[in-house]
Amino acid sequence: MLELNHIHLDFPNHPNVLDDITLQADGGALIGLVAPNGMGKTTLLKVILNRLHPSQGQVKLFEQGYTSQAQTRKNHALICAFPEQNDLYGDLSGRAHLQFYADCWQNHTKSVATIIADLNMGHYVDQPTRTYSLGMKQRLCFAMVMAANPPVMLLDEVMNGLDPLNVALISAQLRALRAEGKLIILVSHLLNNLQTYVDRTIFLKDGHFVLDLDAHATPAQYLKFTGAADVVPGATAYTDQLNVVPLAEVAGETVGSWAQALFAANVPFTVGPLSLEEQFSHFYGQTEEQA
């Protein structure tokens, strides 16, 4: 469905913004794209949309690259990006925005009325968008992508400005869209939330994919604790505050003895897989945010 083949992109005075990015993804998948600000996530989405042109490599949608203007329009009919809420037309209603996207992408299968009901927008959708709160605008932007109903959806910071109830609401809709066979690439900083529904999480750093986690694979177990690493033999500092020991080849009795030692030393510990937040801190702990 979506192929990125050895994408390379430079900006003036900023080489290797994207460096040899390769990705293959099919429908019915939710892919989380994770990185601190300024690492190239939005740039990558723009490359997928052909709004930025890589110096090397190719983007293909349903095996078709952006080879001509006509093909670009065909590809754009298969993909929709999450609009920025500042770009909404203040004098138009939310319903007008939804109808515009539904008509542009010729969505005849999912009605605007259903989307409005699913996202609890009925009480405000006919008001001009200049009267909306940030959360209402954010829901509208997500609803616009739903109204377009393309096979590929690019959602950049979709959860920004949403309260926990609406985060749960959008999360449920994302699962439903995946069940319909959509390919959704999601950029989000809410890693705990992301972890609950993504099929795959990709970490982007220095223009590369540094980690590609399959959420359906059995995760490796770790003993995780804070404080001095030398309390447990073989423990390494995973982040500034977290030490880990992989437990894949460690006998249960040994794990028990380590746990006793930690307990005796009054050191809090847990056993389990590494969370996205812990891995994020591991990869980007030393990275200064650029944006």
């Binding site: 949309l49 709004r51 042109h53 203007q69 670009t72 329009r73 065909k74 754009h76 009919a77 993909i79 929709c80 990006a81 999450f82 609009p83 920025e84 770009d87 909404l88 037309y89 004098d91 138009l92 007008a96 925005h97 109808q99 515009f100 539904a102 008509d103 542009c104 992408w105 001009p128 616009m144």
Partner: protein, 370 residues
């Protein structure tokens, strides 16, 4: 495509600036007939008196002290004498409601003005006289009226006479109105990039739709205004003489056509001028993202032929087409000494410029998109 049309239509009809413009147009059109009657707009007797007095002043200047000795100046005196005499007949005919004398005076005055303009009025220092185009218009209208045995329109008293006064005014204001309507042609895309850029429609089509919708709004506003003026005139005195003549310079010469052609010409001019103003505003939008600054710049451009009429006489500039009322009456051709430039020529040049501006705009937007 249909979705883009609908979105643009919603945008232009929800923009407060456009709503104000429409309100002003409606108020002006609705109040036009009563205002024209109160102000004596189109009062034939008054304008005949003004013409007569102007000619009289010129005549007195040439024959100030004694009969001129130079043959050329003497000839000017004779022409002005004929013109003054004809203007007197026309004025008195109007005052006495004598249709025959009015038409006779118009015919003679027209001939005298054409002859005088051809000679250049030697000996006359200040020229404020009606020019050759005005003389030719008088001849054409009087010939038509005589052939049809119609009386002259003496004041705004019905739909036809109201239209005759409204259309030139509308043509004068047209480019300014179009600048306001077209002011955000590309800003609605440029300022809302993440919404429009993802749409599976190319930028040229988006620009064409923005231009077409705004032109459509302008045409509707002008058509609605004319409807109100016609309705207002009809309420006062019925439809009137829809075959009353007005003069028009399509090509190299003036011709008389019936009054019902007037609205068609105005609507056609609205479309043609909007193509130029729309292209200009698209290009200005690609540089300047401030709608008000763009509006001032646009008004600056369309003001040039009014503030500096001599510049509009340069045939290869698109400016003459921005004063369609002056082209229609032959004023621009007369003043510029270029009778090849009729409405068709001026509009053709304007369309060529529109195509050039659109090409420039397309090149800029494609370059910015990269």
């Amino acid at each position: 495509m249909k979705a883009l049309f609908r979105l643009n239509w919603q945008l232009v009809t929800h923009t407060r600036r456009n709503l104000w413009v429409i309100l002003v147009v409606v108020l002006v059109a609705a109040g036009f007939v009563p205002a024209a009657q109160a102000q004596g707009l189109g009062d034939f007797t008054h304008s005949a008196l003004m013409t007569k007095d102007t000619i009289k002043a010129a005549y007195q200047q040439v024959n100030r002290y004694v009969t001129p000795e130079q043959p050329q100046v003497r000839q000017t005196g004779q022409v002005l004498d004929q013109a003054w005499s004809a203007a007197n007949v026309m004025y008195l005919g109007g005052a006495m409601d004598d249709a025959f004398n009015v038409r006779d005076g118009m015919t003679r005055l027209g001939a005298a003005l054409v002859a005088g303009d051809r000679s250049g009025y030697p000996g006359l220092v200040e020229l404020a006289l009606p020019n050759r185009a005005a003389g030719r218009r008088l001849q054409l209208v009087s010939q038509w009226l005589i052939a049809q045995d119609q009386p002259v329109q003496r004041r705004v008293a019905d739909s036809a006479s109201a239209l005759a006064q409204f259309v030139p005014l509308a043509m004068l204001c047209l480019p300014f109105l179009l600048v306001v309507v077209m002011a955000d042609g590309w800003l609605t895309t440029a300022r809302h990039a993440s919404i429009q850029a993802a749409v599976p429609v190319g930028l040229p089509v988006q620009a064409a739709v923005a231009l077409a919708v705004r032109s459509g709004l302008a045409v509707l506003a002008i058509a609605g205004a004319m409807g109100l003026v016609i309705g207002g005139g009809a309420l006062v005195g019925g439809l009137g003489a829809l075959r009353y003549p007005f003069t028009l310079s399509l090509g190299a010469r003036l011709t008389a056509v019936p009054m019902w052609v007037n609205p068609v010409v105005l609507l056609t001019q609205t479309l043609l001028v909007s193509s130029f103003v729309g292209s200009l505003m698209l290009l200005l939008n690609s540089w300047c993202h401030n709608v008000w600054l763009g509006l001032v710049l646009g008004w600056g451009v369309v003001s040039v032929p009014l503030v500096f009429p001599a510049i509009a006489h340069w045939a290869w500039l698109p400016l003459a087409g921005l004063t369609p009322q002056a082209i229609m009456t032959g004023a621009v051709q007369n003043d510029g000494g270029n009778w090849a430039l009729g409405l068709i020529g001026a509009d053709g040049i304007m369309l060529l410029w529109s195509a050039g501006l659109l090409g420039w705009f397309a090149w800029r937007t494609q370059r910015l998109a990269r």
